[in-house]
């Protein structure tokens, strides 16, 4: 979706402000919020892609106004309500008000260690890769209203396949519950001037990780 999350190349956000000796969490609730989100993902309540879509679907005013974990908290509430795992009334009350669907499983202490290793999104290839290293490609000019990982600044641009990264879960379908639909994944590199115009730093190159359905031959 063409949302506020798709920030690459936007102006006006100001300087980057690193914080010296930054703590891992700035408040205890941030850690709880991270762990709750991770736990619900780990028990299969939603996929990583649906979770990202849940952040992107926040109203843009809220997206910009909320801190990072503030957005995660809103996403968590929205997704457990949308999936019928808890009611808005229960969250407002701060306690379960009814039994409801028994959980498929509980995220317990034994699940923590495996959850610390990132999941694998590589899948068996249903077909040979369409493009090869060194080949020129054009990204498609697509504007799906649902989740996609092709950023706006890199649509309709000519780049070169730099690496073939294997076949991976396709976020665009996974996010909307339409299955993993594995697709080849490529590193596509663009000259900075192709993305930002002739006045761009001539030493700049930018790459994206592009799924095959985002690409067409030049």
């Amino acid at each position: 979706m063409d949302g506020i999350h798709d920030m690459g190349g936007m102006h006006g956000f100001g300087k980057v402000e690193p914080e010296a000796n930054e703590p891992v969490f700035h408040a205890a609730w941030e850690g709880r919020c991270l762990a709750l989100n991770r736990a619900m993902g780990a028990i299969g309540a939603w996929t990583i892609d649906a979770g990202r879509a849940g952040i992107e679907e926040l109203p843009p005013q809220l997206y910009l106004a909320r801190s990072y974990y503030g957005k995660w908290a809103l996403r968590l509430e929205n997704m457990v309500i949308a999936r019928g795992l808890a009611g808005a009334d229960e969250i407002a009350a701060g306690h379960a008000q009814r039994g409801g669907e028994p959980p498929r499983r509980t995220f317990g202490v034994a699940d923590v260690s495996p959850s610390l290793t990132r999941g694998s999104y590589g899948r068996a290839a249903p077909a040979p890769a369409h493009f090869q290293v060194g080949e020129g490609v054009r990204t498609k000019n697509i504007h799906p209203a649902t989740h996609t990982r092709l950023p706006r600044y890199a649509r309709g641009r000519i780049g070169v396949i730099e690496a073939v990264r294997g076949c991976h879960v396709f976020p665009d379908t996974s996010a909307i519950g339409a299955g993993e639909d594995p697709q080849w994944l490529y590193t596509v590199v663009f000259d900075g001037r192709e993305l930002w115009g002739d006045n761009t730093d001539p030493t700049l190159k930018v790459s994206i990780e592009a799924f095959e359905p985002y690409l067409e031959p030049t």
Binding site: G8, V16, E17, R32, G108, V109, R118, S120, A154, D201
Partner: protein
Amino acid sequence: MTHDHDYDDHHGHGSELSEMQLRVRAIETVLAEKGYVDPAALDEMIEAYETRIGPHIGARVVAKAWADPAFKRALIADASAAVRAFGVVDRVGDHLIAVENTPKLHNMIVCTLCSCYPWDVLGLPPVWYKSSPYRSRAVNDPRGVLADFGVTLPPESEIRVWDSTAETRFIVLPMRPEGTEGWSEEKLATLVTRDCMIGTGLPKNPQDIS
């Protein structure tokens, strides 16, 4: 349910604090009562991210690559496999990619769409990495971003920005500082900062740690 307060990314943590404490406590209580999560498991996960998983892991990987040419070759070829095979760290996910800085090439990592970051080797990302300024500017003004970090590159150095738009994850292998000949991996690792593995910084100078 609750009111939405304005909140500034950099300075306003206090304004959100009490509301968010209550709100997150409420949802945790509901999810625990319904049997989805065991609060003790949440405690353990938080403890892992606060104390065990962080940029010291990536620093060991970089230091080993500086000290051991065979490991460096393996790391560049397939970082996930190399890190596992050499037992440098306990666990690393698939699709980790190491990108090497040279005198002619500086690499920088960003996720313009969200906050993708190599948690396995660097821990949780800092606030600035997830912030609008970094995500918006890294891809079209990386030298300006580097200036915000006090870093200036030679004008002729190529800059390569890697936008983490899939489940591949990137770590920058910075250049080994001069004056470190004969250093142990342990000592080399003390030069490796988190930011130099993201590409917004450079390793410390040897004289900075002596």
